[in-house]
């Protein structure tokens, strides 16, 4: 598998002279291009999402009314676990082949470059999960009126999930068996997002306004956008130097 240099030669001039936007764009496009070269890995979280949703009717009951009441929570929990599953690989390859050290050495502020990487992760997992969710909603008998809110809540919430999860991924990337530890330290932090994400869909199903829930999800995202990149950068520094 061909791995790309962190910042392509054509753009390296712009990057080294300090253009922050160019460096962030280069980081993002590199991540996206590399992910598109490994398409099978791209499908993993989506397949996991669909599989977990398939397990619930088999494990609980195929009763349509029962599934419809459980659907908001089930879809959200499955999407959350699918995000968690994909997080272990967020920095793993870059750590193994040394590009992470290059990222740390670039003159631009690390938190913003890391933010570009997390946006890439969201574009490749969170957004596809949100787009796929209505399909699984149909299978669970979710009323079609709630599909819009389901997608919006997942799109908003999964960005927070990517940001918070990247903190855990950065802290555990240097550990040999980081995967289990990652879920222990990250899942508790996911709970508020889950509560308001599933709450938005539930209120849409009940015919209530779901905007307050979405607004709180947005507020959490704003807070995560502000603070998480700093923690991710600190975690990466420690994992690379430690």
């Amino acid at each position: 598998m061909r791995r790309e240099p962190l910042i392509p030669l054509a753009e390296s001039n712009a990057a080294s002279t300090g253009s922050l936007g160019a460096a962030m764009a280069a980081t993002l496009t590199r991540d996206l291009r590399q992910a598109l070269r490994r398409r099978s890995e791209l499908i993993n979280p989506l397949a996991f999402f669909a599989l977990v949703i398939t397990l619930f009717p088999l494990g609980i009951s195929p009763d349509k009314a029962l599934l419809a009441t459980l659907a908001p929570g089930l879809v959200w929990v499955a999407a959350l676990l699918a995000t968690l599953l994909s997080l272990d690989g967020l920095f793993r390859q870059d750590f193994d082949d040394g590009s992470l050290e290059q990222l740390l050495l670039t003159p631009q502020p690390l938190p913003l470059l890391v933010l570009a990487k997390v946006v890439g992760h969201w574009l490749l997992t969170g957004l596809p999960l949100a787009l796929m969710a209505p399909l699984l909603g149909v299978m669970l008998g979710l009323p079609s009126a709630a599909f819009g809110v389901l997608m919006a809540s997942l799109a908003l919430g999964s960005m927070s999930l990517s940001l918070i999860g990247a903190i855990g991924a950065a802290l555990t990337v240097g550990l040999r068996r980081g995967g289990v530890l990652l879920s222990l330290i990250i899942l508790p932090l996911y709970i508020p997002v889950l509560i308001f994400g599933a709450g938005a869909v539930q209120s849409a199903v009940a015919g209530l306004p779901s905007l307050p829930h979405l607004a709180i999800l947005g507020a959490m995202l704003a807070l995560a956008l502000l603070l998480a990149p700093l923690a991710i950068a600190a975690g990466l520094r420690l994992s690379v130097n430690g």
Binding site: L171, T172, G174, L181, I185, L187, I191, A234, G235, L238
Partner: protein
């Protein structure tokens, strides 16, 4: 003060006071609360669990704030003693959280008729227990102690975001759980003979917690500084070649630091 040797000497002077304070307050508070305080007009004698439940819950939250404060001091000023305190305090905080959860669910039987309710306060306390476990496990997962310390500090700061959610969860999601007993702005809605022993218990728990953390920090200091001269002198492990004159001069130098 931030030098481990100075801390070690100072804490040995504080400990007897702290322990006697803790034992006196806990004894008076628990005897008063369990035997002499009047029974609640609704809950009867079962309300007496409050004398364990509330102090443990307050301590569980305070301890996480201590962890976060230690994390800032360690990450910003690189003071190792702060990290030793965090190492010593985290398991006790986890224990206090578990105690608050356990006493809460025991209390749930006579009042709510069930061991567990998915109430906001209970749930966020459970989340806090997981956060404590994450901090403790993450610290141990690293081969180098310094990496583990920094990782645990970062996670403690991130987890601190959870504390306001715990604190205000009762107001946010109005639930079955009663709101906080003590507030700064008004007198507690119970007679003095009920809340004075509770206040004694809370202060006793704090003294007990401080004494315990100090003792555990002292052990941690000895463990980390075991190669240092002052520890070897303290434990009578004087290296072969060091004469008594040399040892004394080193000790004087240590004290100057």
């Amino acid at each position: 003060m931030s030098a481990p040797a100075t801390f070690f000497a100072a804490s040995s002077r504080w400990l007897p006071w702290l322990w006697s304070l803790a034992i006196i307050m806990l004894l008076i508070g628990s005897v008063w609360g369990l035997a002499f305080a009047p029974a609640d007009y609704q809950q009867g004698n079962s309300f007496r669990i409050i004398y364990v439940h509330v102090p443990a819950a307050i301590l569980a939250q305070s301890c996480f704030m201590l962890l976060a404060a230690c994390a800032v001091i360690f990450l910003v000023w690189k003071i190792k003693l702060a990290d030793m305190v965090a190492t010593a305090a985290a398991p006790i905080g986890a224990l206090m959280t578990a105690l608050a959860l356990f006493s809460g669910s025991v209390w749930g039987i006579p009042t709510w008729g069930t061991w567990w309710i998915w109430d906001a306060r209970l749930t966020s306390m459970l989340i806090q227990l997981f956060l404590y476990l994450g901090v403790i496990v993450l610290r141990g997962a690293f081969a180098s102690r310094d990496s583990g310390s920094r990782a645990a500090s970062i996670l403690a700061l991130v987890g601190m975001v959870n504390i306001p959610i715990i604190k205000y969860s009762v107001d946010w999601w109005s639930t079955l759980h009663q709101p906080a007993t003590f507030t700064l702005s008004e007198a507690p809605p119970m007679p003095a003979s009920m809340w004075i022993p509770l206040l004694l218990m809370v202060m006793g728990f704090y003294a007990f917690f401080t004494a315990l953390v100090l003792m555990r920090t002292r052990v941690e200091v000895l463990r980390r500084e075991s190669a240092k001269q002052w520890v070897r002198l303290l434990l009578n492990i004087v290296p072969e070649r060091a004469s008594s004159v040399h040892a004394a001069s080193v000790q004087a130098k240590d004290e100057r630091h």
